[in-house]
């Protein structure tokens, strides 16, 4: 394919746009990763990632891998073959993690959920209460299900677990939320939190990132799953003096140092606020401007990092995506597996602002018009414009959604 002039508009839900400062920081000469100077860098990024995870007790691990590798590290370091897990299959990525767990020899009870819905906390509660033998060793949850644009309330999940007094470990996929949507590892009692470099951390793919609680680290001793590349014990031993067990991806570590600096300069809460503000504008464009539906059912679970847009009957979402890419140099995310062709996705995560999204909204609109979706020209931009012009980019701190399960509709269930 020949080059289309001008900048590509990248609005898949990861990888995200790399800020120039991070791009520059990665242009480094190679160096001895066993030098006396190297630990300065490695120690600083490992420590600072803990702040992004909002953990004090936990420990963070960086693997040269994708986020998928960190999924595997979370499972094999803490579980033994045959161990039972509970999960909800609410989209493509929760499905893939369940699939991985099964392939690695664990037994997964997967709650089937309509795609677009969130974690079924009531059913989770039922299963946990029924598990009187405490055979369930872990719960797998996607904080943000990237395929449907659904954010799950991990705080409430923890509340359910606590209410059931269930000792299972809480495994959370925070790949498309960490650094973009409020994530509170310690407060929510998350035991294993998986992420990657290419989303809210604003880097290329290439680093699998894992945070483990003390409880998770303790479970390593009894976990008999075979592991070597992803063995946390090797990492702990090498990290202790500031090194890695094998050659690290240097440009990525330098890029990470810079992206952490950017994050702390802006401030985590302001970043979460900005993501919400930008997401609200995008949702205004989709629902008010275009009159289309989101895949996510409930406003409470709308994702601030990705919106999955249902196309009208008779339209193939893949056609919208294809025209957007070929004619307008706009990359949108596609519908995966069960929802292929029925939705496209607009990522709104990372280093973004209003006008980048305006380009994406306008381009999506043109591509939809080109393939016969009857939206009114300019309607999406107008709705986003109205929202953004009447709201602050840095809104006041939203009240947390955590705890809403118990403070809300299902309190009865718990007290019952």
């Amino acid at each position: 394919m020949s080059r289309i002039p001008g900048r590509n508009f990248l609005f898949v839900p990861g990888p995200t746009n790399i800020p120039d400062r991070v791009q520059r920081a990665m242009v480094v000469a190679m160096e001895d990763h066993r030098s006396s100077k190297f630990p300065e860098l490695s120690t600083s990024v490992l420590e600072d990632l803990k702040k992004v995870y909002r953990t004090g007790d936990g420990r963070v691990f960086i693997f040269p891998s994708s986020g998928t590798g960190a999924w595997e590290a979370a499972l094999t370091n803490t579980l033994s073959p045959g161990d039972r897990l509970l999960a909800a299959r609410l989209g493509h990525f929760s499905h893939l993690w369940i699939d991985m767990a099964e392939r690695l020899g664990f037994e997964v009870e997967a709650l089937e959920v309509d795609w677009g819905e969130g974690m079924p906390l009531g059913r989770v509660e039922e299963v946990l209460r029924a598990d009187t033998a405490r055979g369930i060793r872990g719960i797998l949850a996607c904080h943000n299900e990237t395929s449907t644009g659904v954010t799950n309330d991990i705080g409430s999940l923890r509340a359910v677990m606590d209410a059931c007094n269930h000792p299972a470990m809480l495994f959370v996929d925070a790949v498309s939320s960490l650094g973009s949507i409020d994530f509170r590892m310690d407060e929510w009692g998350v035991d294993l939190a998986v992420s990657g470099s290419q989303k809210g951390l604003m880097l290329p793919a290439g680093l699998g990132i894992l945070a483990a609680s003390q409880k998770a680290l303790h479970s390593m001793q009894s976990a008999t799953s075979r592991r070597c590349y992803f063995d946390l014990a090797d990492m702990i031993a090498a990290n202790a003096t500031g090194y890695f067990p094998y050659t690290p991806a240097l440009p990525m570590l330098y890029g990470l140092r810079e992206s952490l600096d950017l994050i702390f300069e802006e401030g985590l809460d302001l970043i979460f606020g900005r993501h919400h503000y930008l997401a609200q504008g995008v949702r205004a464009a989709i629902t008010e401007g275009w009159g289309l539906a989101l895949c996510a059912r409930e406003p409470a679970c709308y994702s601030d990092t990705v919106s999955a847009v249902m196309v009208p009957g008779g339209i193939d979402a893949a056609h919208v995506i294809d025209v957007a890419f070929r004619r307008y140099n706009l990359a949108l995310g596609s519908g995966l597996s069960k929802v292929a062709g029925r939705l496209f996705r607009i990522g709104h995560m990372g280093d973004l602002n209003e006008l980048m999204l305006m380009g994406a909204i306008a381009g999506t609109e043109m591509a939809m018009l080109d393939v016969g979706v009857g939206v009114r020209p300019g309607s999406g931009v107008a709705a986003a414009s109205d929202y953004w012009r009447s709201n602050d980019r840095v809104p006041k701190r939203r009240t947390g959604r955590a705890q809403q399960y118990y403070s809300g509709h299902s309190t009865g269930t718990v007290s019952g």
Copy 2:
């Protein structure tokens, strides 16, 4: 000022956005600019720039300077103090060139023109016809007056000169047109064509570029203006073997090599077509969408690289620009000198596409709304969308505007 997240939208009429390929090409280690290897690079860019100028006989010069330096080189190498020049003051940049000529000791007859109008060919013709002594040594013309968004018809100017049989040299400022708007040095008989690196050539500022006809080169012998840094004779001597008289700006030359490759890969005519197509969309947004007026009076002189937008009475254009920059990270051009506060400018030149402009249009609209300009939200984007969706990015070759002076309304004058 703290960093605003996301990408800056740069829509001043220069410097323009640098394509990633060019950005990369400039990341070079220094090297010996007198090595046996160096001439490969220097010779290739000097030769290829001739193609961009569409000159076979002419010679191109590259100075480490801004375009202003190339203005000076054009004048001092071909004229002697006291020499008479004819020019039209139709905007800030034509004014600055006239001012430079006067400071360098030349006598300029400046035709005063309302800003927004093009070169007054009828008045030029009168002056030339009246100059029976042939005392006018040169005519200064801005191909594209960046301050007003007016493109002048250099082909028709040449036709006027030819009709008058006047031997003056034709000096053309092609800074904001070269590589973006059709420019035909040989066909139009241009003697000195000035440009810079930071516009259609998609590079940072730092290179002043000058093309000189054989006639211009011949005039060097009698030109007694003092010159040294900008002396073409030194350049000719050094360039002959592929070198420069002083240390060249290496990253810029490597960047230029890459930008020339990009230009030839896309094709000059397709680039001009793309600029026209994009400009038409922007103009649709301004006039049809927002109902605002361009500074440029006649469609025939609308610039395909920059649009100057008149703001409604009571509004300060500087306010629009300030809000666009501070709130939306959008850089617009300001009104200069006589039109300060009365207009803002949207550059649409270089490596651009529809969605980059959509971001700019949406951002301009929001900024205007914020400061009280009563445009309808989404209207600009809708109008541009309509235009772009119903036209090809690569339109059929437009018929040249050259010659229209004589084939058009003023034929009578000529025949009279």
Copy 3:
């Protein structure tokens, strides 16, 4: 540590110096790794890596991981827990691979060898002949043992296996040889060849690279080792259409594209020749200039990518390395585990030339003098200079060392 002015001299045996062209190629904006354009890139690098491996039938896999990950992929995709392997522990990296195999549940018969010696082909032969039940499923061999500077003759190993008519798979670690020392996957009947990005491929660490023969691929079907992240089946399925099962490390892929271009432009044989020529100069400096011994015992196994230098008694090699780094900004490799303190290593692999090595030789010499090693100033440089000045950088093709086992001393054994 504050910055030491000037360039760091990086002479650890990996990561290696990144050529400017590769450095530039990695400065890329992120893009949709599921776009219709992406397969162009992925397919081209996968195909071209086969040429570097010199395999026609084999298949190449790229993982976001270090080379260690590719070690794991080689084992878990082809073996089942309890499977027996044969290996020789002849340095730190062969040790680590054995250790990994054991941790992953395989039974390894490890032949203990003095560090500095090569693969004990006679003993290998004995074991294979004794294995009449054909219980040994694979042989692990390091083509180039980076910790001792010993290159093993894989062609002769294959000849031994063939002579014994043994069906074991041949697993080869080619991490510090691929792209630097002649490697012939098909000719030598290698089944699994592991490499990484940060050595002869002249990239940062971050890609684990694995080539698998048809036989190895076939063994996947019966291999019951648990695997998911490194599952070749997922890769095969995704690569079939030009994609990856998870987000790839884009800058690395673009860098790999450029490094492959560089490799083919220079030519593999010329690259091997250059490595030999440069290594010979370094060895001249060490042995003739300084009068020191290499760790590698036999000239036939001297490595063309790394030289391990024994320090005189009473000297701590770590002291040399520390002074070299802190005072002269020179990074040397250290002695690992059994040989810690007794040797230091000079890497000479990747994008290198004489003068870079002269800096390293001079710096090593100064550091040795500073800590009391009694070498004559300038002696190393003089010896290397003599070698390089009297030899061509691109020597005639050396006759292969493969087959020398059988054509050499142990022919008798075979015929016996």
Copy 4:
């Protein structure tokens, strides 16, 4: 020419090697150079350059040009056609500046000096004393004559001028000294100090830099030389609010910001000390190791930024340079005009350390041996090694050489 593997060794006396940090800093997106944010950058570099010049009262100017442009700016802004200047022609660059002055219409009394000698202060004094009418308006001096490796004692020149009570302006070419050799604008009463970006400032060429004293600025009012591009008045007006009169070379300004940071982090005095220490090692290699002569006659005028090496009779220095470049990827400077073929030059300025120079010394030695210069292999490196190993990189502050003219041999003249 096809690519030679490995890094080029750049040892021409400018452009110099760009530190990675500066290289990275120049990878910037374009931005509006008239934005409200821009003055932060421009003001900070203009102010900080004053510290490098060691001037409090002076004003610094940055032009998009080479250093040659700054030569012209110095002359045309302060002088009128026909003005008389005094200069010494002691090398190629002092010759070029004299030539420029003549071409720009000034009358230059040029003291002819053997190349290799420094400024003839006694003859200067005679001329100044003889100029009772005070007709000499300025003295042109090269602080460091790059073509011969001679550093002139500007402090002593000022002392001569003061002793003669002569009001001429002092014009100094500090192109190859600023930021590398102690330069004291205010202390030495320098009126116009010319520099460029590509030497001690460790940037690519592209910025002409000029510092002007208050006396020089005052002289602008009466200076009638024609000027426009280089007119300091335009710069002063635009710089007042943090802008430039024409589009600035943005990457260069960002690079300059970083190079100034690097300079202040290391410290000017330590940088000068490092240059002296490195230069001493190079001179040890040349004179003690190889037994060759420097072009510079007196140790007092040996340049700490460049050494010009006389080749033995019968050898063409151009041949050494050619072999060094083609065979060893080493760029040496050539002999210019009068000394062409008789010397080659080794630059040792900017971001350098011992091992980079060791590569250059070893390469020069090999090239000399290849063309028949009978030096002993390793001798240069050994001599440099001896010097560097027995001296500190950061020597104690040397006593200034300024004033030595009067405190030394010619005191008598003054008191007479």
